[in-house]
Symmetry: C2
Subunit: 419 residues, 2 copies
């Protein structure tokens, strides 16, 4: 293998997950093992940090801080939703890479971020600049193709299932066949997250909550909703509902996708949860509906993250470095590959960035039961291993202790760039 | 002390907390120590269970189940918001107590429940029926008088602070002086819960989130709200806001309240978060506002409960039994008494039920800073000890394991009662 001597740059992009920082810890930990790596830089706020040369020296951070990243939510390097558009932007990226002798670029993100990484990689090849680009999968949405699942997904569904188990104890105490508990979860275009809530059911207890799961994969019907709630409340003290934010009607239009205000400034119906609550109030007199809207909390809940997920996020970071340094791989994303055995195992693989950037992994329709509001055993078998194990979160003075990076700045070498 | 031989009845009332079941575990554990206690019954669904003779045999539950109550949220015996109104209801209670030789009645709940317990106690005295009634404090609202604080409060604020610390990592990665993160928490008439969120700030980091806390104790003004958010966003990447559901305007009217009331005539609140979000959208163009509405999740989050709180809830249950059995006390509620030392200690005391039933502990105005949107050190000194320590939640197959009671029914001895 040709040894490529130079510097590492790692960045994060898009919405954080509770384990994306574990991937950064994996990159830094592995990069330190290789003598061809001279410096390990982090770019602040994704590609914005590249354009503006906002680099920090990750090798100078304490071991405690890097280890602390494994239980620190958010994106420690900052993130952005800025999309490289103009050719000028891409040229600037290469200019900055050359100035700082960046030879290894690792980018943790979802579809858009892998697309960005792909374009940077292709441009470097065109310009004969020796650069190895490896993407690291990241998204609570679990919608990246090729990879069996994405780091971030296991933790978000573990937290949601924990919340549902706990709320259901409260609901069981309060409900008298008259209580609807709605939990609104993320997931714009696919129901992976809402589907994951089905793991809250104990094995062989099909009547456990959640009783109804509304997914964007199944067209929503008011009549069916009302009938399903009635059916559950005839049997149970309460009806536990999980709804993804991306609910769509039979024409494929989003239902209650945004929050708006009327002319008087009063809040109108919020998201999907508030919408379902309004349906209960409208169509089911005497029934109370309560909404929990977890919002950002679900993708930041490091205190309740999955050890399997956390370990795999770290592993994906390590694998990215090894692929680039040892195998001279580039223009690929690390994938998670499930072993073909009854006992769950997970290794890493590689897939072309272009394949990731242009694809979406859909929730298989055959994993949704005929009723359209629950998941079958195929799904449970897929998702159950992803929530296993707990991460030992350090607490100080009664609260979780987060890693704080020193963020020692790398000197800028170029003239400032106008965005 | 006169020994009173007979049966114990314990019940739960009102909204659950994540530690109310620990109090039941305390009652059962302690009651087993006293030979004058013949049977230990639990009444299902609070006073409804008394009226309908829905009793279960708690002494026959496994030790594992009783111990499991210490980390099981909700109210394991069920609860109710039914209010004993008619004299006939009270007469029925006494009739049931006499039929089952109930000589010790322990009732875990808030103001309304202690009022109910007081009335039952007074009626027994009038009828010369030897009954010892001891209330066990319970409410996340922390608004019971006399007692230093209430079991349930420490855990709810520990969970909220954990959530704020975590979300803030996400907000810090995403915000570019343009993000408002609103966390809506419970708290009908007092700001105890919202105030507790201030513990999320690290010591000596006054600019840590949450940046603004809106309490029912401070009249809400739209102009001030907008000005405060602008002030924070001029300095910080994001503005972290905590708002209690019981926000009031300068005239003392609830903001964002629906017209509904519960069985006790309390306004059903909700929507303060969505209301603030609408204000941001209206008055601060270009600023994004996101809402997390924790709802029931906050009072059910046993996986993130405070060990100090859990231990005190258990202790309160034990103390109730000891007061009744060993001290022949009745018509009292167990209180938590803070030691007069720098190092936090907590013992139990007793206060007349009537005093609890008719009082409300307000959040001291002098613990709120002049700015009206943050808490001072007096509050921190008060609340900090209540969130200390973590409860080792058992997990199975990736999710918290809840206690399941067998609920062996006690034979009914009377004719059914018409509610």
């Amino acid at each position: 293998m040709p040894e490529l001597v130079g510097n590492v740059l790692v960045g994060q992009s898009g919405g954080p997950t509770s384990v994306i920082n574990a991937s950064i810890a994996g990159v830094v930990t592995e990069a330190l093992n290789h003598s061809c790596v001279e410096e390990i830089y982090g770019c602040l706020n994704g590609v914005l940090g590249i354009l503006q040369e906002d680099f920090i020296d990750l090798a100078s951070e304490s071991q405690q801080a890097i280890r602390g990243l494994r239980h620190t939510p958010g994106a420690a390097l900052g993130t952005c939703r800025y999309k490289l558009k103009k050719q000028q932007d891409f040229d600037r990226v290469l200019e900055v890479f050359k100035a700082h002798n960046i030879r290894y670029f690792f980018y943790a993100g979802g579809n858009d971020s892998q697309d960005t990484a792909d374009k940077i990689s292709k441009l470097a090849q065109q310009q004969n600049y020796d650069l190895r680009v490896i993407g690291i999968p990241k998204t609570i949405d679990n919608d990246l193709p090729v990879t069996d699942h994405t780091p971030g997904y296991g933790s978000v569904i573990k937290y949601i299932c924990t919340t549902i188990r706990e709320i259901s104890c409260d609901n069981a105490a309060m409900g008298q066949n008259d209580l609807v508990q709605i939990v609104e979860v993320m997931g714009r275009s696919a129901g992976w997250i809402a589907a994951g809530a089905s793991l809250a059911k104990r094995r062989d207890h099909p009547n456990d909550p959640p009783h109804l799961i509304f997914l964007p994969e199944v067209a929503f019907s008011v009549d069916k909703f009302v009938a399903e709630v009635k059916r559950v409340l005839a049997r149970e003290k309460f009806c536990s509902i999980v709804v993804g934010e991306g609910l769509v009607d039979a024409d494929g239009n989003y239902i209650a996708a945004s929050t708006k205000t009327d002319a008087f400034g009063h809040a109108q119906l919020g998201g999907a949860g508030a919408y379902l609550q309004s349906l209960v109030e409208q169509h089911l007199p005497g029934i109370k509906a309560r909404v929990v809207s977890l919002g950002m909390a679900q993708r930041a809940a490091a205190h309740c993250s999955s050890k399997a997920d956390n370990d795999e996020a770290f592993l994906a970071g390590q694998a990215a470095v090894r692929a680039a340094v040892l195998e001279a791989e580039t223009d690929k994303m690390v994938t998670l590959v499930r072993g073909n055995t009854d006992h769950y195992t997970c290794e890493t693989g590689l897939a072309p960035l272009a394949e990731i950037a242009n694809g979406v992994k859909k929730l298989p329709r055959e994993w949704i039961n005929e009723d359209g509001v629950s998941m079958n055993y195929q799904f449970v078998r897929y998702a159950q291993p992803l929530i296993q194990g707990e991460v030992a979160m350090p607490f100080e003075n009664g609260l979780p202790l987060m890693a704080h990076l020193e963020k020692s700045r790398v000197d800028k070498l170029l003239t400032p760039y106008e965005l």
